[in-house]
């Protein structure tokens, strides 16, 4: 996971789902704040794959036009093999599985996404790709 700036901070545009879930977060202004919130995210959403945190200048997010959420698959040559449409509407984890199957054709077929998979967690199949 590449943790980026908040999608719906309370100091900008709060979201009804977050209000219902009692998630009230300000935009993060320091790297420490962002790391702390990222840590909460990983725990609450049960994300077990490695997570890195974008800098406060949002350099990586800008390079990938990733906000509010987005999926990419990078092949072994360091080239973009799959780029999702911008989230939330374009965030489809099954497309990631299909892209990995094309890159790793000799691997096992992708597993079905578990019911607990959320928007920020791809349906990573049992193929030797790396999720970040």
């Amino acid at each position: 996971m590449v943790y980026i700036e908040e999608a719906h901070p309370i100091d900008a545009w709060q979201d009804d789902d977050n209000i219902k879930a009692k998630i009230f977060l300000h935009s993060t202004r320091t790297r420490k704040e962002r790391c702390d919130v990222a840590g909460t995210c990983l725990v609450k959403l049960g994300i077990e794959y490695p997570a890195v945190v974008d800098d406060i200048a949002n350099t990586t997010e800008r390079a990938y036009t990733a906000w509010p959420d987005r999926l990419y698959v990078i092949d072994r040559d360091g080239r973009i093999a799959y780029k999702s449409k911008p989230g939330p509407f374009g965030f489809h984890t099954e497309d990631v599985a299909h892209a990995l199957e094309r890159l790793l054709p000799d691997s096992q077929p992708s597993a079905k996404p578990s019911p607990s998979v959320t928007r920020v967690e791809p349906a990573i199949p049992s193929t030797p790709g790396k999720a970040l």
């Binding site: 996971m1 590449v2 943790y3 980026i4 700036e5 908040e6 999608a7 901070p9 900008a12 545009w13 709060q14 998630i23 977060l25 935009s27 790297r31 790391c35 990222a38 840590g39 995210c41 990983l42 609450k44 959403l45 490695p50 997570a51 890195v52 945190v53 974008d54 800098d55 949002n58 350099t59 990586t60 997010e61 990938y64 036009t65 906000w67 509010p68 959420d69 987005r70 999926l71 990419y72 698959v73 990078i74 072994r76 040559d77 360091g78 080239r79 973009i80 093999a81 780029k83 449409k85 911008p86 989230g87 509407f89 990631v96 890159l103 920020v120 791809p122 790396k130 999720a131 970040l132």
Partner: protein, 101 residues
Amino acid sequence: MRLWHKIVLAVLVAYGVLCAAAYEVMRQTPERFGLIMEHVPDLAFIVLPFKPLWFRARAGTLNVGDPAPDFSLPTQDNKGVVQLASFRSARPVVLVFGSYT
């Protein structure tokens, strides 16, 4: 021009202007976009073609086949730094961009 022609034309022009304005707002930085959208009524999401405008406005400049921009970022637990290029020739990498909210 008959009156109803003028009305239809005016509505179409207004709709086009609103779509163009929405598109431009979607191209703003996330912070600015959020501050503006806080004051936009929910009706706008029904009236305007939000999704196709969003897809176009937030398309970005990267395309499939392009070199992925390299980055070197610290892990959330501050125990290390991960560079995307380090995975080259090893295995594909899935990047999941997102946040808690």
